[in-house]
Symmetry: C2
Subunit: 189 residues, 2 copies
């Protein structure tokens, strides 16, 4: 897009002296590399590996935004979130977005407009989130979350979304990024 | 803050049938729990543990925003980011914010205004980011990053920040969330 400042000049990558697999599973992996710092010293660097993900802001044709109230086991908390989830192996990001939107909210989007993507924890993982705004979303069927997901669905006005954000009630990072981008880009009406 | 919709009714937490430590280190931990789902079934749930973090949007008294161009080993990429880092044990979040701001950018803030915090990857970690906007930041000294950090410092106008965001050039999630909140709350002038 025109007018944006250039990215910083890329730094030369660290060399890799050694790499050790600490854990592997279907869900995640962990490795410990010995990297060669620019000053020549070796340093341990842990890298956490999880599949890339999608996050979708569902906007209905009446302008209301659909969020899911979702329980998260790691924190034990339940908050409002946008539908999101990992991309299956070989699956295109937009297909994963449509699938997760339908599974978690029961809605289908007429158009999945790409939003800027992001690395949620770039210091320890290359994990990347492909973000979308679902336009003209229409109710299709009851949500079909995974057995480990507890979800309720509710729709909100743009003013309510702004109030949730400004009150600090949006605790999920994927949700904060994508709702704020959708607001910034004028996609919430 | 008044006017924000209520949080969803909390779901009852999963029971924990068993918990196994997979990895422990100074930098991170990984455990595998057997949780009891609402339908009574057992399911594996991995939880990744890292210390909570801070992220700071540094705004100078002339309104310009200070970003650091930072190399990230997991992705091999160099992008513009806000100063950020983990909270040391026993350290208050605001103290960590002032420390990371000075170490990475060389600036000090007259005021550290809290922004809404967030969980970057709430599905797999309780990791929480305390966010701040540093107001009236003044240059103090050269940055003193860790040996594993490669950093350059540059300042941007509000219009350039908006252009970077809308172009998708802000790849770091901490940076996208905090810059977008600072814009939304009118803290970038």
């Amino acid at each position: 897009m025109s007018g944006a400042p250039a990215d910083p000049e890329p730094f030369p990558p660290f060399g890799v002296h050694a790499s050790e697999r600490l854990y592997d599973s279907h869900w995640c992996g962990l490795r410990r590399d010995q990297v060669i710092l620019p000053n020549g010293q070796l340093q341990e660097y842990h890298v956490f590996e999880i599949p890339d993900a999608v996050a979708i802001v569902p906007v209905r044709s009446d302008g209301r935004v659909v969020l899911v109230g979702q329980y998260r086991y790691p924190s034990g908390e339940t908050h409002w979130e946008v539908p999101a989830g990992r991309i299956d192996e070989g699956e295109a990001a937009a297909d994963a977005a449509g699938r997760e939107l339908l599974e978690e909210s029961g809605y289908r989007a007429k158009e999945l407009r790409p939003l800027p993507g992001f690395q949620p924890t770039g210091g320890i993982s290359p994990h990347f989130v492909h973000a979308f705004c679902g336009l003209d979303c229409e109710w299709d069927r009851d949500p079909q979350p995974d057995p480990s997901e507890q979800i309720i669905v509710q729709d909100f006005s743009k003013q309510e979304i702004v109030a949730l954000l400004e009150a600090g009630s949006i605790r999920d990072g994927f949700t904060a990024v994508t709702l704020l981008y959708a607001l910034q880009l004028g996609l919430l009406g």
